[in-house]
Amino acid sequence: MLGLSLPALIVLASWFAAALLGTPQAWAGDLNLNAVLVWGTDEAKPRDADYKELDPKIRKKLGRFSRWRNYFVIKEEKASLARGAMKKLKMSAKCELELKNIDDATLEIKLFGEGRWTATLKKSAEAMRKGELAVLGGDDKDKYNDAWFVVISVPAP
């Protein structure tokens, strides 16, 4: 074919395939994210509150690291980030998130606590798409023995 030998064809085919398939980011599209603010506590849910229970799958995962009896969803937000896009999510009066799809390969999560930039976590966007969770958490300053979590995930299609 084209006067090329078999080894030459293999070399050219490898280059062509690598260009098409080499990086998953070539066809990634927007990065869709779920961000959930979770309250971890040993107390029962307050009667006047309409907090939902945390998704059982995520609850089970969190339980591997944390010891609280109950996990309540305080707020849930969604974001869809094109390559290079950034979005701020207000999770509570004291908690804000800044999510940025840096280059389709990296998701940057910035946590702002009471207006202060507190922590940054960079995760592989591909890992997130595969179902990995990014979790930030800490002790509740207002309530002894309770904790807060922010769980970021990519929702299943």
């Binding site: 090329l4 080894p7 030459a8 293999i10 070399v11 050219l12 490898s14 280059w15 395939a17 690598a18 398939l21 080499g22 990086t23 998953p24 995962k61 969190l62 591997r64 690291f65 390969a105 990296t106 946590l111 606590g113 202060r116 930039w117 507190t118 922590a119 940054t120 976590l121 960079k122 995760k123 592989s124 591909e126 890992a127 595969k130 179902g131 990995e132 969770l133 990014a134 979790v135 930030l136 958490g137 800490g138 002790d139 300053k141």
Partner: protein, 155 residues
Amino acid sequence: MNPETQLKLQAWLDGELPPDEVPAVARLAETDRDAAALVAELRHTMAALANNELERPLPESREFFWSKVERGILAGERLATGRSRPLGLSSWLRFLAPAGIVAALAIVLFTPIFGVHRGANLAALEEIESPLADVSLTTFRSESEQMTVVWVNLH
């Protein structure tokens, strides 16, 4: 008899001895038994070579043979002076072949259809930092649960 004396006897036989040394070496060859034996043996060898060497004729004349050698040397010198030919496809393929192998390996290692588990590699891409002096971060990573937990400690 030492090697130097043997060499002088050989040179005397070959007519290559300096003139001032000839009388002494000639006298030695006549008076010394070992020197005389060596001279006799050398003369026999010289005669055998002179009279019995097989003549091996070349398929071509001597001039033609050496002109071929000269042409070969000149051709080699022309290549060495850097008269290059334009790069043909074969030259590009010699360059691309190893790169193509690397590309093929990259496909096998980094394409999900091959089912290679890459959780550990993707976790290695994580970065965690805090700009605040009164905050420390503790990180938990679970490959089995596929999650990373960053615990924010306020001091």
